[in-house]
Amino acid sequence: MEFNRVVGTRRSIRFFKSWRPVEREKLQVMFEAANRASRSMNADYFRAVVVNRDDLDAETRDALRNPTTTADLDLAPTYIFWYIDLDYVAGAQDRLKELVEQHALPAAHGWSKAYVDDFLWPQVLEPISKDPNAVVFMGAVETGIAICNAINAAVDQGLGTCMHAFTANDKIKPLLGVPDTWLPVWLQLVGYPAEEPEAGGQRPRRPISKLFFEGHCSRPFEEDPEVTERLEREGMIQAPGPFPYRAQEVRMLSRMYGLPE
């Protein structure tokens, strides 16, 4: 799928084909995409544990359930538990010098090994690593960037995915053997959509002129209609929801799975 169509086709999928497992190679593609994401300090901010629902015994599955996640865990065949590894700063000094050696951080932009050792590490990075708020803030931003790549890789492979809050970390942590330095961020559900991939149409978004500005916050970034038309042709901008049959689609899916209507 072309990039623009991947971005435009992404939806939060909430009805999965519960019977169809996700191929392991597709998960690998998602993880590789996440691993290629932009990251400051070339640090590994995130960790993730993938769990296939059907590999869990009944007791473990029940332990994960709570009144707000039961249907989600039943319908999705694959769960990815995403974490920030709060120890991500460790090793940053060496990783940055590695980038200096690769000329990714060139002298043309002020970088040198001496700068990393003598100034950046002792005066910036080490203090940040001791500030819990800064650690969590940076970790959340950078992990989110990685997850975004994984989401788009899932969509590109015909998968559906939806991000959920962690609500049972006290149960999940011992079950998955999660280290104390990992902070839960998102539970990503993955599977093949039982609903149409369009999931009733593209979600409402405010025009970019409300969100982006040019030169000054008082000057909206006005869209070029020709570009908008091209993005419609290329699938980034798609027909808005709800499709006329969306309510019925949801009703029938709910009945198929015995879910509340």
Binding site: P67, A71, Y257, G258, P260
Partner: protein, 148 residues
Amino acid sequence: MSAIHPSEVRTPTAGPAPDGTPTAGPAPDGRVDADLDAVAASPAARRWLERDGDGRVGAAHDGELRLLARFCASLGTTPDELVAQCTRATKSGDTAISAAGRRRTDQAISAFVVAEGAVGRDAIVLGNTLRSFLIHNGIFLQGPAAIE
């Protein structure tokens, strides 16, 4: 509130109610529970029954209403009290969902389904029909899906 008479409870062989709600227990003998009207008139029940905005509040939802009435009777409560038990007042005076209350109510639904004798998919649908009542009254809640 008095309990629903056992003869009002349907058996699995009775099939679904007119609105498709699965039923359990012996078939109805036509008697109308005196409490049913009170349940139907409660604001929480009406909010639930009017959720589609299509004016279907009568016979179309008969099975759902009877189920709710039986559940309320089993707990000795009313639909409005049921919703209230899932909420709590915050220090600032707002109303918030009570995690403990929601958990207790969810467990009560599961226990009720067992007591009704429903099994398999019918049990899931029965429980989720009651969860639907809470959901449409603002209580975020999920139940199991019938995937087997």
